[in-house]
C-alpha cells in the first residue's frame, strides 16, 4: 500500500495556489460516478489533477520561454463569492479536535524519554512525524480556501462541461450547461469573466453497448458545434462490477483514489472503497490522458494567452519609472481621489472591479503564479501592491504583500534569509487588523504558507515569530502554531534550543488545556519536562529519569507538575497523578494562594481514585497503599525513645563492674549505636517532632508508627508483634511544629525497628513518612569514598528481652529536709511487674553513711538482727567510698 501523498513545503504551496476548473455535469452522469463510488464527476477526476505531467515549454509575460514540467489542477463543483468564514473559538477548537486521529500521546516526540533530542527525527525534518494533526489542519485549511474578490486564485480559469454520450442531444445538453447557475456566476462575478474557457467533454459509458457505434458520430457533432475544446472520454469498460480489492487491477485502481484521499478529505472519515469498480486500467489511462490533454491543449494555452494580453494591456505600462509617474499623476491630478474601479466588497473592504486595471494586474500576476512564473508574477505583484496601498484597499494590499513574499521564496530552490520579504510578516497582521472585517482565514493561510516556505529554506529562525502571529484568541489553533514554533527552535541552529522549545511547548500546552484537549496538553507538558531535564550544559546527560519535573526552577516545576497531575487525573492515571502532586507539595516554594488548592486537589484525587476502584469492584485502587508524602515534615534526628515514660528517672541496662566507681550503660559492640533495651511488656515512648511546612492547616488522623519486629532466637514461630498506640487526631496549623508521642509495648523478646510514621492526611489520604537516619559514613572501599555511603543506623530501634525483671520503684514519705540530729523513717517500694524474679537488689547511695537501710522484714527489730546475713536488700558499699563526690546516676530524688 503506498504511503498517502502529503505535499511538502514548496510543493504544498504550489498545489495550494494551483488553477481551479469548474466541473458541471449533466444528471445522466450521476450513475457513471455512482458505480465508481464517486459522488460527483469532479471527485472522479480529482486524483488525476495532481501532478499533471504537462512537459511543455511556454512563454512568460515578457515572452521569455520556460519549461513547465508538471502542474496541479483542482476540480470544483460550485463557485460563489462568499464572505470569509468567521469562526468562533469553539468552532476552531472543534476543527483542531477533528485533526487528531488516534492517541495523541503515543505520537513520537522530538525528545527522548531518557533526555536529549532525537537526532534522527531532527534530521528527517518531517512535519507530520511529530505533529500529524498539523499536517491535516494545514491541508484542510488550504482545501477550504474560498473565492475572494481580492485574488484570482480560487476563481475558475475554465469550465469543464460534461455530458453523457447516451443522451438524446448531447450538444444541446452541453449548450444548456453553459447557462448553469454556477457557470453564470463564473462569467459574471469572477476574474475570468466572459473570457472564461469552456471545455466540453463527452463521456461514453462502456455499459451502453447500444450506442458504441454512434458515439464517434455524436462526438463529431459536438466538435463541430463547440469547437476544438472538446474531448471524448470512454470509461466503465469493465465487464463486471469489481467489489473486492484483493484482485490486482481492482486494488491498484481503487488505490488511486485512496492514495489521494488524505489530500482531498484531510478531516473526513477514512476512504470507503473500493473505488472505480467499473474501471479498467485502460479507463484509468483514459481519464489521466483526458485531464492532461485538457490542460496541455486548452487550459494552459488559454491562461498563457490571457497573460500575454494582460501584460501588454496593463503591466508593461505600469512597470518602471513611467508606471510610477502614471500612478502619482492619476492620484494627484485625477478627477477622483479613488480609482474608478474601486468598490466595496462582500466584507466591506475596498476591492476593484474585475475589469479595472488594478484587478487585471492581480489576475495577470495570479495566472503567472499558477503557471509557476514566479519572477514575473513578483514584479507584477509589486506594481499592484503600490496601487492597492495608494487606494487604501488594505485587503488587496495585504494579499499582494503576501504574494510578493511567496514569490521571492518560491523562485529560488535554496532561498536565503535575504530572500525573505520584510512585508510578509505584515501581511498576516494586516489581514487581521487593517481590514474592515478581520480575515482570520486569510491571515492563518498566510502564516501556514509562510511557515512552509521557511521550512523549505530551513530558515527556522524566522518561523516562531511568523507562527505566533495567529492570535491567542483562536484557542487550540494558537496552540497548534505554538507547538510548531517549539519544533522550529529545535531545528533552528546547530544546537537545539531546548529552553526556548520548552517555553513554546508550555504556551501550546496552555492553549490546549484551555481548549479542553487533555491529550495534546499532556504531551506538550511532558515535552517541557523532558526539555527541562535535559541540561544543555552537559548535553543532556543529566536527564532526570523520574516522573515529576525537578529542574530547580521552582515555579516552572510547580506549573508543569500541576498541569501534568491534572491531566493525569482527567485521564484516570491516578498513580502518575499522585507522583506529580507529591512533588508539587514537596517543592516548598508554593505560593500561599495555591497551597490550599493543591492540597484539596490531592485529596480529591484520592477520593476519585477510591470511587473509581470501588465502582470497578477492586480494592483500594491505584492508591490503595499508603503513599509517601512530604507533608508533614518529621525530623528523624529529633526522634527520641524513652523507656518507661510513666516512671521518673533514667531507665536502661547498666553494668557495675567490680572495682569501678560508677556503673556504666551496657554497650553492645555489634550495634555500636545506642543500645536501648527494655523488658517484655514494658512501655516505650517514641517522641517525634512534626512540622507542617505549609501555610495552611492540616490534620493528621490515626497517627501511628510502622515497626519492623525481629524475634529473638528461641522465640515461638509466630511471635506477637509489639503493640503500637495511635494518636487519633493531631491538628497542625500553618508552619506549626508539635511533638507527638507514640507508645510501643513489645509482647515478646526481639528487636523493634521503627520504619515509618503512618497517618491519614486530613482524615482522607493514607500516607506515610519514612523515618530513616544515616549511620556512620563508610570509607572502606573506593566506591564508598567516592560517593558518600552510610551504614544502616539503629538509633530508631530497641530490644526487648525476657531476662529483665520489670521493677516499679517509688519512695514513700521521703522528707524534703531534715533538722540536724533528727531521724526520719522512709520506705522504698519496689514492685516487680515482670515475669522474671528479681534477686540481689542493691541500693546505690551517694551518702551511704547517712542512711540506715533495713530490710522490710527487719524493720522494728533490734540492731543485731539487722546485721544478720541473708537479708533481701543490702547496701552495695564495697566499692563505693563514703565521700561526698560520689554522684548518683539514677537520681530518684529529682
Amino acid at each position: 500500500m503506498p504511503r498517502p501523498a502529503v505535499a511538502q513545503k514548496r510543493d504544498f504551496v504550489a498545489k495550494a495556489f494551483c488553477p481551479r476548473i469548474l466541473v458541471v455535469a449533466t444528471p445522466a452522469l450521476a450513475d457513471v460516478c455512482a458505480v465508481n463510488r464517486c459522488s460527483t464527476f469532479a471527485e472522479l477526476l480529482a486524483p488525476f489533477g495532481q501532478d499533471v505531467s504537462t512537459q511543455i515549454t511556454i512563454q512568460d509575460g515578457q515572452g521569455a520561454p520556460y519549461f513547465l514540467d508538471k502542474l496541479d489542477v483542482k476540480f470544483t463543483t460550485d463557485y460563489a463569492i462568499e464572505q470569509q468564514p468567521q469562526w468562533t473559538q469553539a468552532e476552531l477548537d472543534d476543527m483542531v479536535r477533528r485533526c487528531i486521529t488516534g492517541d495523541a500521546e503515543q505520537t513520537p516526540m522530538p525528545l527522548l524519554p531518557g533526555g536529549g533530542v532525537d537526532a534522527g527525527a531532527l534530521a528527517a525534518d518531517d512535519a507530520g512525524g511529530w505533529a500529524p494533526w498539523y499536517v491535516r489542519l494545514r491541508q484542510h485549511w488550504v482545501n477550504e480556501m474560498a473565492a475572494s474578490e481580492h485574488e484570482a486564485f480560487m476563481h475558475p480559469v475554465a469550465c469543464l462541461l460534461v455530458a453523457s454520450g447516451s443522451e438524446d442531444d448531447p450538444v444541446g445538453a452541453l449548450r444548456g450547461l453553459q447557462s448553469h447557475p454556477a457557470v453564470r456566476r463564473v462569467r459574471q462575478q469572477s476574474f475570468s469573466g466572459a473570457n472564461v474557457l469552456f471545455y466540453s467533454m463527452l463521456v461514453h459509458d462502456g455499459r451502453d453497448t447500444g450506442v458504441v457505434q454512434a458515439i464517434d458520430q455524436t462526438f463529431d457533432q459536438v466538435r463541430r458545434a463547440l469547437g476544438q475544446n472538446s474531448a471524448l472520454l470512454r470509461i466503465n469498460t469493465s465487464t463486471e462490477l469489481g467489489e473486492a480489492e484483493g484482485d490486482g487491477d481492482g486494488s491498484r485502481i481503487s488505490g488511486i483514489w485512496t492514495h489521494s484521499w488524505p489530500t482531498t478529505h484531510p478531516l473526513g472519515a477514512p476512504a470507503e472503497g473500493p473505488f472505480g469498480g467499473m474501471l479498467t486500467m485502460r479507463d484509468v489511462a483514459a481519464l489521466r490522458d483526458a485531464v492532461k490533454q485538457m490542460m496541455v491543449r486548452s487550459v494552459v494555452p488559454h491562461m498563457q494567452y490571457q497573460i500575454r494580453v494582460l501584460s501588454e494591456q496593463t503591466a508593461n505600462e505600469r512597470r518602471g519609472i513611467t508606471g510610477r509617474l502614471f500612478s502619482a499623476g492619476r492620484r494627484y491630478f485625477g478627477t477622483s481621489a479613488r480609482a474608478a474601479g474601486a468598490v466595496a466588497g462582500v466584507g466591506g473592504d475596498v476591492y476593484f472591479r474585475y475589469d479595472s486595471p488594478e484587478a487585471l494586474m492581480r489576475k495577470l500576476a495570479d495566472y503567472s503564479f499558477m503557471l509557476k512564473d514566479f519572477s514575473f508574477a513578483q514584479s507584477v505583484y509589486q506594481v499592484a501592491r503600490r496601487d492597492f496601498q495608494s487606494e487604501k484597499a488594505w485587503k488587496c494590499y495585504a494579499g499582494a504583500q503576501e504574494m510578493v513574499g511567496v514569490c521571492r521564496l518560491m523562485g529560488d530552490a535554496h532561498p536565503q534569509r535575504a530572500d525573505v520579504d520584510a512585508g510578509f510578516d505584515e501581511a498576516a497582521a494586516m489581514y487581521l487588523h487593517k481590514t474592515t472585517t478581520p480575515c482570520l482565514y486569510l491571515a492563518v493561510r498566510c502564516v501556514i504558507v509562510y511557515y512552509e516556505l521557511l521550512r523549505h529554506g530551513r530558515l527556522y529562525a524566522l518561523a516562531p515569530r511568523a507562527l505566533l502571529q495567529v492570535p491567542a484568541t483562536t484557542g487550540a489553533l494558537h496552540g497548534l502554531m505554538a507547538e510548531q514554533a517549539a519544533y522550529a527552535h529545535l531545528r533552528r541552529g546547530a544546537r537545539p534550543e531546548l529552553r526556548r522549545f520548552a517555553f513554546y511547548a508550555m504556551v501550546a500546552a496552555q492553549a490546549f488545556r484551555a481548549a479542553g484537549m487533555g491529550g495534546l496538553a499532556r504531551r506538550c507538558l511532558r515535552m517541557v519536562r523532558l526539555a527541562l531535564a535535559s541540561a544543555p550544559a552537559d548535553g543532556g546527560a543529566g536527564a532526570d529519569s523520574g516522573l515529576p519535573s525537578r529542574s530547580g526552577w521552582s515555579s516552572i516545576d510547580s506549573y508543569v507538575n500541576h498541569g501534568l497531575g491534572q491531566q493525569c487525573v482527567a485521564a484516570r492515571g491516578y498513580g502518575d497523578a499522585l507522583q506529580y502532586f507529591t512533588a508539587l507539595l514537596g517543592s516548598g516554594q508554593i505560593p500561599e494562594k495555591l497551597q490550599s488548592t493543591y492540597l484539596q486537589e490531592l485529596l480529591q484525587l484520592y477520593l476519585e481514585s477510591h470511587d473509581s476502584a470501588a465502582a470497578a469492584g477492586g480494592g483500594g485502587g491505584e492508591l490503595g497503599a499508603a503513599v509517601e508524602l512530604p507533608i508533614p515534615t518529621i525530623d528523624a534526628r529529633m526522634a527520641r525513645i524513652i523507656m518507661s515514660p510513666e516512671l521518673e528517672g533514667e531507665d536502661g541496662v547498666w553494668l557495675w563492674r567490680p572495682g569501678v566507681d560508677d556503673p556504666r550503660r551496657q554497650v553492645d559492640d555489634a550495634r555500636a549505636a545506642a543500645n536501648l533495651c527494655c523488658s517484655v511488656g514494658e512501655d516505650v515512648a517514641v517522641l517525634l517532632m512534626v512540622t507542617n511546612p505549609l501555610t495552611v492547616g492540616i490534620t493528621l488522623n490515626r497517627f501511628t508508627l510502622d515497626c519492623e519486629f525481629t524475634p529473638a532466637d528461641g522465640e515461638a514461630s509466630a511471635p506477637a508483634p509489639p503493640d503500637v498506640s495511635t494518636a487519633d487526631s493531631v491538628i497542625l496549623e500553618g508552619g506549626q511544629t508539635t511533638m507527638i508521642s507514640v507508645t510501643i509495648t513489645p509482647r515478646c523478646a526481639g528487636r523493634v525497628d521503627i520504619r515509618d510514621a503512618r497517618y491519614l492526611l486530613c482524615d482522607i489520604l493514607p500516607a506515610r513518612t519514612a523515618l530513616v537516619l544515616p549511620g556512620r559514613r563508610l570509607n572502606d572501599t573506593g566506591a564508598q569514598r567516592a560517593t558518600p555511603t552510610y551504614a544502616p543506623d539503629a538509633r530508631l530501634g530497641f530490644s526487648a528481652d525476657h531476662g529483665f525483671p520489670r521493677l516499679a520503684v517509688s519512695l514513700e514519705d521521703f522528707p524534703d529536709m531534715l533538722v540536724s540530729g533528727s531521724m526520719h523513717r522512709t520506705s522504698i517500694r519496689i514492685a516487680n511487674r515482670g515475669s522474671r524474679p528479681c534477686r540481689g537488689v542493691a541500693l546505690w547511695l551517694s551518702h551511704p553513711s547517712f542512711f540506715d537501710v533495713r530490710s522490710p522484714v527487719l524493720v522494728g527489730e533490734d540492731d543485731a538482727a539487722a546485721d544478720a546475713p541473708g537479708g533481701d536488700m543490702y547496701v552495695y558499699s564495697d566499692s563505693v567510698p563514703p565521700v561526698a563526690e560520689a554522684r548518683v546516676a539514677n537520681d530518684l530524688r529529682d
Binding site: L498, G552, I556
Partner: protein, 133 residues
C-alpha cells in the same frame, strides 16, 4: 511601578538566587521564570557577539524585556523588567556582580549552591531600590 524579576543562574542552568521587586504579581511568577529561562538560549547566542559582560536586552515577550549580564565564570545575571533604562540596569548588574563575587569569596559558600544569605538579600534589595525602583 512595574515588576522586576532578578535571578542569578549558574553555569549549569540552576537558579542560585531569585528576587522580585516592585509590584508583586505572584500569578505571573511561573511566566517570569519561563521567559527568563527561555532567554538563556539567546544569551548563549549573544555571548559570541560581544566581549562585554553586559549583553543589554536579549529578549522580549510582550511588555517584558529580559536583560542579561554574564560573569567570566559563566554565571548569568538575568533581569526581567518592563521599563527600559539600560544605564540603570547596567549599574544594577555591575553591583550585583560585585556582591556575588564577595559571596564566592566566603569560605563557607559552596560554588553553584543556592544563595540563602539574608545579608545578600538585603543588599540586592537595596541595589534594586537605588537603581530600579
Amino acid at each position: 511601578m512595574s515588576t522586576y524579576y532578578f535571578v542569578i543562574v549558574s553555569a549549569g542552568d540552576a537558579p542560585l538566587y531569585e528576587a522580585t521587586f516592585g509590584v508583586p504579581r505572584p500569578e505571573h511568577k511561573h511566566m517570569h521564570q519561563f521567559v527568563v529561562h527561555a532567554a538563556l538560549d539567546l544569551v548563549d547566542d549573544a555571548l559570541f557577539l560581544t566581549n562585554a559582560c553586559y549583553l543589554k536586552t536579549v529578549d522580549k515577550h510582550g511588555d517584558w524585556n529580559v536583560s542579561a549580564y554574564v560573569t567570566p565564570s559563566g554565571v548569568r545575571l538575568m533581569l526581567l523588567h518592563e521599563a527600559r533604562s539600560e544605564d540603570a540596569v547596567r549599574a544594577f548588574f555591575t553591583d550585583c556582580h560585585e556582591l556575588y563575587a564577595k559571596t564566592l569569596a566566603n569560605p563557607f559558600y559552596q560554588p553553584a549552591a543556592p544563595i540563602l544569605s539574608q545579608a545578600f538579600d538585603a543588599k540586592v534589595a537595596a541595589l534594586a531600590k537605588r537603581y530600579l525602583l
